[in-house]
């Protein structure tokens, strides 16, 4: 009986120690482009994405859906374009578009907010090479941001849903027509790797490589 009591105490202590880490973890689900980066990097990423309008738990929570060009995994540099709903939107809890840049010259990640997607509408998000600046990012027919970056090349592409908690019901998530720009031409994704660190979010391949949907298990 003494062994059982001791064991239960140890379990409780260990669970208490582990709890904070589970709280801290950001949740992701989506596609990486599987290809190795070409010598000159990628010149763009694009996707046609549904705007879901789901409930966000109170507190400092948000979810966002985006396309991203990775400039460096080592230092954590990227250019991201997507939409967001949560406490950090300019109007808390509202849907907003945004473009986020983190590179070796920024003091902190720069985020530009744009007003405003309509729920249940699809929009085409892109990050793409530009002739004057290094990059342009935005939503077709809505807005364009122009950006310079150091480094100027890219090593990977991602299309993901991200959230502070996977309690958020991401049903309705739908990414279509994923495209990458290799040698200055747009191509549908022809390889991918799914990635997720959630045990309750699920991804469905809607085509072989360039369309996916996601939902939360009931």
């Amino acid at each position: 009986m003494k062994i059982i009591k001791t064991t239960i105490c140890v379990i409780i202590i260990l669970l208490a120690l582990g709890g904070p880490f589970a709280f801290a973890e950001r949740k992701y689900i989506g596609y990486y482009l599987q290809k190795d980066p070409p010598l000159s990097g990628y010149y763009g990423v694009k996707a046609y994405v549904n705007t879901i309008d789901q409930t966000v738990p109170s507190g400092s929570n948000f979810y966002c859906e985006w396309v991203t060009i990775i400039l460096s995994y080592a230092n954590g540099y990227w250019i991201q374009c997507g939409y967001n709903k949560g406490y950090d939107s300019p109007t808390s809890g509202a849907l907003y578009w945004y473009v986020e840049l983190m590179d070796s010259t920024t003091e902190d990640p720069e985020i530009n907010w744009w007003y405003q997607p309509t729920a249940n509408n699809y929009y085409t998000y892109f990050v793409e090479e530009d002739s004057t600046y290094d990059w342009k990012a935005g939503v077709f027919g809505q807005f364009i941001d122009y950006l310079d970056s150091d480094p100027f090349w890219s090593v990977d592409l991602q299309t993901f849903v991200e959230a502070t908690t996977d309690d958020i019901v991401i049903n309705g998530t739908d990414f279509q027509y994923l495209e990458y720009k290799g040698n200055h031409d747009w191509n549908l994704w022809d390889q991918h790797v799914s990635g997720s660190n959630s045990s309750v979010w699920w991804i469905v391949d809607a085509s072989e490589h360039y369309e996916w949907e996601a939902f939360r298990e009931p």
Binding site: I3, I4, T7, I8, V10, I11, L14, L15, L17, G18, P20, F21, F23, A24, Y28, Y32, Q34, D36, P37, L39, G41, G59, S60, F62, C64, W66, I70, S72, Y73, A74, N75, G76, W78, Q80, G82, N84, Y98, E100, M102, S104, T105, T106, E107, P109, I111, D148, D150, P151, F152, W153, V155, D156, Q158, F160, E162, Q191, V193, G195, S196, N197
Partner: protein, 210 residues
């Protein structure tokens, strides 16, 4: 009696599993955090960073020798440090696989003195990819362009890091040293305790891994 024994064994196994998980967290995260850092401050602006999904979710953690063997066979001449500062040791390499289950030609090599294997938190990481030019604009980059052992290199002190976990361990800055050797581009990120001199010393003593 039999039921009691099964119960005890089950509880002991559960405890063992939790100890393993706890040791993992302890070695990878807790040793260098203070108690107040255990819980993320959700009002801290750095926690609003959105950013990409981690590379670890698409890759596997492999032995450096396994990767270098394959790369050498495919004509990629991998150079790695032979003199490391402090007690840094090579931990392994995060690398993704291609459709035919071979390693890709982009990998992130991890060095740590504290058994850290995550890209965001290891003391020294080296991102390697094919490339013959430095990926920085000479007009706008904040660092200096130089040569090390005749190889083109770029060094930037106090370069910002986008990983939130890194920021909580080391602060916002790192040293970047980027060098081109035999058509491979090596991007090194060192924690702030590694000086520019340390980083140059590491880069100066890279040799072909056979």
């Amino acid at each position: 009696m039999k039921y009691k024994n099964i119960l005890i064994i089950t509880l002991l196994l559960s405890t063992l599993s939790l100890v393993v998980v706890s040791v993992y967290y302890t070695t990878n995260m807790k040793k260098t955090t203070t108690p107040e850092e255990d819980v993320v401050d959700i009002d801290d602006p750095s926690n609003r960073i959105k950013g990409p999904a981690p590379f670890e979710l698409k890759s596997t953690f492999a032995l450096i020798t396994t990767v270098s063997d394959q790369w050498n066979k495919s004509g990629m001449s991998l150079h790695l440090p032979t003199k490391l500062s402090g007690k840094l040791i090579p931990m392994g390499v995060w690398i993704s696989c291609t459709d035919d289950n071979k390693y890709g030609d982009y990998g992130i090599f991890i060095y740590s003195a504290k058994n850290r294997t995550k890209i965001a938190t290891a003391e020294l990481v080296i991102e390697v990819r094919p490339g013959s030019v430095l990926p920085f604009n000479k007009e706008s980059a904040l660092g200096i362009f130089t040569t090390i052992n005749g190889c083109d290199a770029y060094i930037q002190e106090n370069a910002l890091v986008g990983h939130v976990e890194y920021r909580k361990l080391y602060g916002n800055n790192s040293t970047i040293l980027c060098i081109i050797i035999d058509n491979l581009c090596y991007w090194m990120r060192g924690m702030p305790q590694l000086s520019v001199k340390d980083m140059v010393n590491i880069a100066s003593n890279m040799s072909l891994l056979k």
